[in-house]
C-alpha cells in the first residue's frame, strides 16, 4: 500500500475545505446557508453508502463518472474525486492517523464498494432498559439477515451489558454437592438451589453466562423493560484488510451526520478477534 505524502494529505484537506467553504461564501441568505448545510449532512446510512460509492454528491445529485466527476454546487463547478468525497465522510474532529489516507487510497485503487446486502457489517444499538427497577444501558448487536432473493430483516445477534454476564462470587465457598450425592438421588440440589447467592459453587469452574441468552430470558420473563435506543454505531468488516466504524455526528457544521469515526488496519485472520472482543459476538 502506498503511503500518501504529507503534502498530498495536506492538499486533500485543503481541497475539501475549499469545497465546503465555497458552499457558504456564495450563499446570500442565512436560510439558504442552513438549507445547504442540512442538505450536505449525511442524513441516512443509505446516503453514506451512496457517497462512499461515488454514486451521489454531497447535495444528493447523481455523479457521472467512476472516480472523477465535475459537480456543480451552489453554482460553482468543481472537480470532485472519489478520494475527496470519501475524505469528506470522515469525522473531521477525530484524531487523524496516517492509515486514514492509506484506507482511502486502498478503497479508490481497488474500487471497493459498500453494499447494504454485504455480510460482515453490524449495528450496535446502545439502549436504555430498566432492570430491577434501575435505568441501565445495554448494547444490542444486530445484523441484516439477507434471504437469497434479497429480502432482508435486521436480527439480534448479540447482547452485551455487565449485568448480563456477571456471576457474583459465592458467599459460602464451603457449600458443595457432596461426592456421594449421586447415591442419594442428588437430594442436595434442592438445598443448593434454595441459596442462589452460592449458585456459582455448583457449576463447573469455567462456567460463564451467555449474555445474549440471558437477555432473551429476561425479556421473555418481563424482568427487563426496553425503553428506547440511545445511539447506534455501525461496524464494517467487509473491506479487505480494514475495519471501520460509522457514527452519527449531530453538528451544525457541514461535516455532520453519519461519518467514519474510526478506521483500523486489520488482517483478515484477525477479524474474528475483532468480532469477539469489540462486538462481543460468540463465534
Amino acid at each position: 500500500m502506498k503511503r500518501l505524502s504529507y503534502i498530498t494529505k495536506f492538499c486533500l484537506t485543503i481541497e475539501f475545505f475549499y469545497i465546503i467553504f465555497s458552499l457558504f461564501v456564495t450563499a446570500s441568505f442565512s436560510q439558504q446557508t442552513t438549507e445547504i448545510r442540512l442538505a450536505s449532512r449525511v442524513k441516512q446510512l443509505d446516503e453514506f453508502f451512496s457517497r462512499f460509492n461515488f454514486i451521489t454528491d454531497i447535495l444528493g445529485n447523481k455523479i457521472v463518472g467512476k472516480d472523477t466527476a465535475i459537480v456543480t454546487i451552489n453554482g460553482v463547478s468543481k472537480t470532485l474525486t472519489r478520494r475527496l468525497q470519501i475524505s469528506a465522510l470522515i469525522d473531521m474532529m477525530k484524531n487523524h492517523k496516517d492509515s486514514d489516507a492509506e484506507f482511502i487510497n486502498d478503497i479508490c485503487s481497488n474500487g471497493y464498494l459498500l453494499n447494504f446486502y454485504d455480510k460482515d457489517w453490524y449495528a450496535v444499538a446502545t439502549c436504555n432498559v430498566v432492570y430491577k427497577g434501575k435505568d441501565v444501558l445495554l448494547n444490542l448487536i444486530l445484523k441484516n439477515e439477507v434471504y437469497p432473493d434479497n429480502r432482508s430483516k435486521w436480527v439480534i445477534t448479540g447482547a452485551d451489558a455487565d449485568f448480563l454476564n456477571t456471576i457474583p462470587d459465592p458467599k459460602d465457598k464451603n457449600s458443595i454437592i457432596s461426592p456421594v450425592s449421586n447415591d442419594l438421588n442428588f437430594q442436595e440440589l434442592s438445598k443448593a438451589f434454595s441459596h442462589p447467592e452460592n449458585l456459582k459453587q455448583f457449576f463447573v469452574q469455567d462456567f460463564s453466562l451467555d449474555p445474549t441468552s440471558v437477555f432473551y430470558a429476561l425479556l421473555q420473563s418481563k424482568q427487563l423493560q426496553f425503553k428506547g435506543v440511545k445511539s447506534i454505531r455501525y461496524h464494517f468488516l467487509q473491506i479487505k484488510d480494514w475495519a471501520f466504524t460509522v457514527d452519527f455526528f449531530n453538528r451544525s457544521e457541514g461535516n455532520s451526520g453519519w461519518l467514519l469515526s474510526d478506521i483500523i488496519s486489520i488482517k483478515e485472520n484477525e477479524k474474528n478477534n475483532y468480532k469477539k472482543q469489540v462486538l462481543k459476538l460468540k463465534l
Binding site: 442552513t34 438549507e35 442540512l38 442538505a39 449532512r41 442524513k43 441516512q44 443509505d46 446516503e47 444528493g60 447494504f116 439477515e145 434471504y147 437469497p148 432473493d149 434479497n150 429480502r151 432482508s152 430483516k153 428506547g228 452519527f248 449531530n250 451544525s252
Partner: protein, 303 residues
C-alpha cells in the same frame, strides 16, 4: 467403489421399446411439478434422469435443472406417474415466457458392464403460457414511481400538520385534518418520536396522540415550515414481502405567544414509508395493487 465408478460413467442402453412418455406439468407456486412415465423398462433397470427447461420453444435448453427433488437423479426405476418438483425461484429470479418447454432425459447403464454414453430418448412438451407472479418483485421504474408517491404523501402530511396547528381554524376542521392525516399511515399503532430543545430524551407516541398533542399546543400562533430538502432511500424488500424506505425531512417549528417568538427548533425527521400489496378483484381477475403508506417517524435531532 467399482459400482460407483460405473455409476459415474453412465452408459445408457435401452431397448427400443423403453421410452419416456406422458410428460406433463402443473404450477404449484412457487414450484413446478413435472410428471412423466418410463414405459417398458426392465424390472431391475436403474435410470439416471435429468430435466431441462427451455424458454424459447425448445431451441435452447441450457443446463439441467438444479433445485429439483423427487424422481430425478440416479437409481430411478421404470414406471408411471414419476414426479419431479422444481423450486423455480431458487434457480432463477423469475420464469416468464409463453414458450416454455420441459425436457426429460433418462439414461441407463448397459448390461454386461460396457459403459457408453448415449441419450436414449427425450420428450418435449410445449407449455402455452407460464408466468411467475411478477408483482412479487418490483421493477426499477415502479420503484421510482413509488418514491414520487411517497414524497407526495409526505407533503400531504405536512399540509395536514399546518392545518392542525393553525390557531385561526375551527376545532372541527382541525379534527378532520387529524383523521385524514392518520389515514396516510399504515396503522394507528405507528409512532412518532417527540423531543424538545435542550433535552436529549425522545419519546415515541402513537401518531393520533401526536397529532392531537400538536393541535392543542398553547401558543397564540404556530408556524411550521419544511425545508425544501429531502432524501429518499432506496426501497428495500423486507422478509415479510413488503418494501420499506426512509424519507428524511427537516422541519422548523416556531411557537409565538403575544406576538413574540416563545419557542423555536429545527428537527430532522426520518419517516418510514411502506409499500404493501393487496389483491384487488376486477371482474373475474384478481390483480395485485401496491399501496404507499407512512410508518413510524423518528426524530434525529433538534437544534
Amino acid at each position: 467403489m467399482k459400482s460407483l465408478f460405473l455409476l459415474l460413467i453412465i452408459i445408457p442402453c435401452l431397448l427400443p421399446a423403453q421410452k419416456i412418455d406422458n410428460v406433463r406439468f402443473e404450477i404449484n407456486d412457487p414450484n413446478i411439478n413435472i410428471y412423466y412415465d418410463i414405459v417398458n423398462a426392465k424390472p431391475n433397470q436403474d435410470f439416471y434422469v435429468t430435466a431441462f427447461c427451455s424458454m424459447d420453444g425448445g431451441i435452447n435448453y441450457g443446463k439441467p435443472l438444479n433445485s429439483v427433488n423427487g424422481d430425478i437423479g440416479f437409481s430411478i426405476k421404470g414406471g408411471k406417474g414419476k414426479k419431479i418438483v422444481w423450486d423455480v425461484l431458487n434457480d432463477m429470479e423469475q420464469l416468464k415466457s409463453d414458450r416454455v418447454m420441459f425436457k426429460i432425459k433418462a439414461m441407463v447403464k448397459e448390461s454386461g458392464g460396457n459403459v457408453t454414453e448415449q441419450t436414449v430418448t427425450d420428450k418435449s412438451v410445449p407449455i402455452k403460457a407460464l408466468t411467475k407472479d411478477e408483482e412479487k418483485f418490483l421493477k426499477l421504474d415502479d420503484m421510482n414511481r413509488f418514491k414520487d408517491i411517497a414524497l407526495q404523501k409526505t407533503e400531504a402530511l405536512s399540509n395536514y400538520i399546518i392545518t392542525i396547528t393553525d390557531k385561526s381554524l375551527e376545532n372541527d376542521t382541525k379534527m378532520m385534518a387529524v383523521d385524514q392525516a392518520v389515514r396516510l399511515f399504515q396503522s394507528e399503532d405507528n409512532t412518532v418520536e417527540v423531543s424538545s430543545l435542550g433535552s436529549t430524551n425522545v419519546t415515541a407516541i402513537p401518531v393520533r396522540q401526536y397529532l392531537n398533542k400538536i393541535r392543542v399546543l398553547k401558543y397564540s400562533k404556530i408556524i411550521i415550515t419544511w425545508f425544501d430538502i429531502n432524501y429518499v432511500s432506496e426501497f428495500k424488500q423486507g422478509a415479510d414481502g413488503k418494501y420499506y424506505a426512509v424519507i428524511t425531512i427537516f422541519q422548523k417549528f416556531e411557537g409565538y405567544r403575544d406576538g413574540k417568538l416563545a419557542y423555536s427548533d429545527i428537527s430532522q425527521k426520518q419517516m418510514q414509508v411502506i409499500l404493501d400489496s393487496m389483491d384487488k378483484k376486477i371482474g373475474d381477475q384478481v390483480i395485485k395493487q401496491w399501496d404507499v403508506l407512512l410508518g413510524n417517524i423518528s426524530v434525529v435531532e433538534t437544534r
